[in-house]
Amino acid sequence: MFEQILLNGIFSSCTYCLVALGLTLIMGVMDIADFAQGALYMLSAFLAFLAAKFLGINFLFSICIAIIVASFVGIINNIVVYQPAMKRGASSLIAALGVLLIIQNLALLVFGPAYQSFPLSFAQEKVKIFNGIITVYKGIIILTTCVVVFAIWIFLKKSKIGKAIRAVSQNPEGATVVGIGRGRVSNFTFGIGTALVGLTGALVSPIYAFDVFFGSEIVVKGFAISITGGLGSILGTIVSALIIGIGENLIAGYFSTEYSNLITFVVLLLALFFRPQGIFGRKEI
């Protein structure tokens, strides 16, 4: 029982971690709480589903299509909505909620209100690890998460644009002084952030049934995780994703499924009141 809950918890932590990582990059660099990512998560789940089911494309390629479209929409959002909003000193969070509303309802008109789901034809074998059972596909997602998170970490540490992203997130004015263009960095960050969210949406589309309001919940959790972990901190994101993912499954397993969502909010509130800069964060709030 406990091993099973732990495995499920690790799996949900992985999906949360990917989404939270995308959000924390964007929030750290741009100071935008981009709730519209929830819509992009849903959009990429739908795209992967449609491409795989109706166009008959290989699932791997349909994930790629979903990622590309999601990051394209994310960058367009940044250019059309967030940049003008920031320039005029308007609240980008509110603008993001507007974008969320628009994309969700457009999707409602296009895709309809029904729940969708499609079974995968491969990687459905069950594997026994200790006393828990998990499908190969979920195992693949966990491995992918590890690889992607490591890649992002290396990218931020070593590559030139990664260093630029970190510079802007630590001190925007200072970065501008030394000649780092904020516009280009912001577009790049948005591209990577939304690609992460899109990847997650596409990856989980064969597992959960989803409708057009699919992403709202995970994006709220993602924010809770990125704030709890400390903005811009990859280690913090991983740790708080594990806390919330496993805690949620523990509550659902031993107590009640209805209140399993509550752990997110409890953890977030505790973090905000006792350590507002996050578990591993440095920035004062």
Binding site: R88, A90, V99, L101, Q104, E258, F273
Partner: protein, 322 residues
């Protein structure tokens, strides 16, 4: 022409119009819409106490409305409270929750307060849905009795028709506007204005900014709770669906579009957007209205942050000085 510049003339004209309006137009559907607009006006007016006066965005107000609605309905149904006392109970519970949530979270700045209110709204919906023994869960509370006001043997009114309920709501709107007006021009209101313009500067001249913000938040949630009670007794059955984050969000859009920090702004905003929403449910799919709301929101927050009232004021001030 001096008549048109006179504020009292315009105010009394507006009051007279709001009293006669349902008597001229006799369609029940219009009456229904007027009542809904009225309830939304109360919520948006109280939301404006936070947004307009202090400059804080709250995205959880539908949750407080739900607290007020559920409390009022339960008090009236299970404990046989009179309507007005139930309404007061709803206000009290809602403001107690406002204090509980506002006191710690109003210390946070920027995005974080917004995110907290947003999340609190979701948590409250979660409780409405899952505390089945109290709220009857997702099925909601059915058969809420119509509002009755009884004062001894002298006065007994049963607000069972739409027109009667409209006048009840109108009375409450006037009360809220009066309180808001007095609040705005009080010492406390000026303190809040100082916080909106520059919080640190306000602190430096000895304003207890945190206390003032908490007071404003509590008053705002109290009136939102009252609106919830009024809503519950009008629609006669409430479910958690009415109090999710989507209505919270609408209230915010209404306030923004109308113009924050004014009395007329919330009224214009709620009338405009509630009408749009209702009409779209009648003639198109509601999704189109939501898309329109989103577009409104983005355009207004970027290009017209002062809302329609801000535009009007700009227009009038130009006439004066040029």
């Amino acid at each position: 022409m001096i008549l048109f510049r006179n504020k009292i003339f315009w105010v009394s004209l507006a009051i007279a119009l709001s009293i006669i309006l349902p008597l001229i137009i006799k369609k029940p559907y219009i009456h229904h819409m007027l009542v809904l607009i009225g309830i939304n006006i109360i919520v948006v007016l109280s939301l404006d106490m936070i947004l307009g006066h202090v400059g804080l965005v709250s995205l959880g107000h539908a949750g407080f409305m739900g607290i007020g609605g559920y409390t009022c309905a339960l008090l009236v149904m299970n404990w046989k409270f009179p309507f007005l006392l139930g309404l007061f109970g709803g206000m009290l519970t809602s403001s107690a929750f406002g204090l509980l949530i506002g006191y710690p979270s109003l210390r946070l700045k920027g995005h974080y307060f917004v995110i907290i209110t947003f999340i609190m709204g979701i948590v409250l919906t979660l409780f409405f849905t899952n505390l089945v023994s109290i709220t009857n869960g997702p099925m909601g509370l059915p058969n809420i009795p119509s509002a009755k006001i009884k004062v001894g043997d002298i006065l007994f009114i049963n607000f069972n028709t739409k027109i009667k309920y409209y006048y009840l709501i109108l009375t409450f709107i006037f009360i809220v506007i009066y309180i808001k007006h007095r609040f705005y021009y009080s010492r406390m209101g000026r303190g809040l204005l100082a916080i909106r313009e520059d919080e640190d500067l306000g602190k430096s001249i000895g304003i207890n900014t945190h206390l003032l913000k908490v007071i404003a938040f509590v008053i705002s949630t109290a009136f939102t709770g009252m609106a919830g009670g009024l809503f519950a007794h009008y629609v006669k059955s409430i479910a958690p669906d009415s109090f999710t984050f989507i209505p919270s969000f609408y209230f915010f859009v209404m306030n923004l579009v109308g113009g924050s920090g004014t009395i007329l702004g919330p009224i214009i905003g709620s009338s405009l957007l509630t009408t749009t929403d209702e009409l779209s449910q009648l003639y198109f799919q509601p999704a189109w209205a939501r898309i329109l709301f989103g577009v409104f929101l983005i355009v207004f927050i970027i290009y017209v942050p002062m809302g329609i009232m801000g535009l009007v004021k700009k227009l009038f001030s130009k006439e004066k000085y040029e």
